[in-house]
Subunit: 237 residues, 2 copies
DNA sequence: TGGGCGATATTTGTATACATCTCTTGTGCT
DNA sequence: AGCACAAGAGATGTATACAAATATCGCCCA
């Protein structure tokens, strides 16, 4: 699978490839710092500081910043940029929106997918089934990587530039950031992969309505319920 | 209503404000050239050429180009950028997507809109009702401006950064470009405004499901049916 | 003492020179 | 004649100097 130059790798471990364009390195570096809360929400993204941090000059840093703003990870205010802060309600919005957009993508894919693409999806499902659940952390990491690929392939199967573009912002603020809020969500790998199987059945059957609804359900099944924000555990008065 | 610096004005007549940032001038200039097919689809967006065209240097032009790519009006290919070509199927996708995204926005607005925002929407509807249909072209222009404001206010009424961000690409490729394909679509101002009234009723009633469906219907009612592309009129053999 | 005003410092915006990369074109060999 | 490789031109990527704008701080005055 070939990737756009500015698209971050699905594998969250691969970063700072020195052969990549400086603008890409800057983008990945700043993005990682935002997602890890190394740069906390609302903090000022000063260009010079980011230059030192990423080891480039202002031109690539500015390009990276514009992209982060376009993706919603940063906000613009009086010619200055700040790390966006995701309230729980904004995260809810992102889930609902993604359910609709990616649901529509599944609909289109059901009408346009090719046989090799179906095979690749089936392969990814098989790989996710084969994950050994013994080591929980390793299993989670593997699953997140394969899961990302599954969704990527499905988007590719739409063969639509516009759908790719619309998916960009909803994918940019990824699981890593959301986890801050969804703490303790079980993330059942087996159940999730059952949903993948269902989606693939619908898409392979060429049934757009079924595909759309299956995908919407899949996304919404991971939506956090309420707002368990900074609720320190302890006896209530 | 305050506007983001890089957001194009709703009024399509206001352009090339010399006091604006050079990057904004470049963005608006290139965008206008794309939408008017002055720069035809698939044509190469050479940076130096665009500098001469917009009267700025490469830095603002590059910023404008990145934004156009993010919005889907241009595509990137081997470090070069080209004007995107919208096939009829891509335009269909845009309509379906916008119906879902803006439908969801109407849902959220129904839960969060404030009284003054409701008043502004009502005022815009009244203004659209008051349009004199005698001069067809002037009426169309007025309607498109007010219509744009109506949709803008509704998005604002969501009070959500993420929704604003997601709406950006679907609004970027505007009516002007779509008209190339929807030629001869009647655009009934009265009927359209009746739909606006319906949407406002649903939103003001605080009924999210009703609001979402009313908006989806409104968007889809303008969706082109088939593909009447370069069908030269004439007797068929 | 509080507020308004202006100088200064900091930060971003723009222009441009230089580096790097890609594609083209031409030449020479097989 | 056709292919491969290399040299060149043209375009984009990066760094940096300078300009403009904004915020801060201190001072003066009421």
């Amino acid at each position: 699978m070939t990737r756009d130059a500015m698209t971050p790798p699905a594998d969250p471990g691969a970063e700072a490839d020195p052969s990549a364009r400086a603008a890409v390195r800057a983008y990945l570096g700043i993005r990682a710092a935002i997602l890890s809360h190394d740069l906390p929400p609302r903090s000022h993204l000063r260009e010079e500081t980011l230059c030192e941090m990423t080891g480039t000059s202002r031109t690539p840093v500015r390009e990276a910043l514009r992209r982060l703003v376009a993706e919603g990870l940063a906000t613009e205010e009086n010619r200055h940029r700040y790390v966006a802060d995701f309230s729980i309600s904004e995260i809810m919005v992102m889930f609902d929106m993604r359910a609709r957009i990616e649901g529509y993508a599944a609909r289109v894919a059901a009408e346009r997918i090719t046989a090799p693409e179906i095979d690749r999806l089936a392969g990814l499902i098989a790989a996710m089934d084969a994950i050994d659940l013994a080591d929980h952390d390793a299993a989670t990491e593997q699953f997140l990587r394969l899961n990302g690929q599954f969704h990527d392939v499905l988007i590719e199967a739409c063969h639509s530039t516009q759908i790719r573009i619309m998916m960009r912002p909803v994918v940019a603020a990824p699981v890593a950031m959301i986890k801050r809020f969804v703490m303790g969500q079980p993330l059942s790998i087996r159940a999730s992969n059952d949903q993948h199987r269902e989606i693939l059945r619908a898409v392979a059957a060429g049934n757009p309505d079924w595909a759309e609804m299956a995908m919407r359900g899949h996304i919404l099944s991971t939506r956090p319920r309420v707002c368990p924000l900074p609720a320190a555990p302890g006896p209530r008065p």
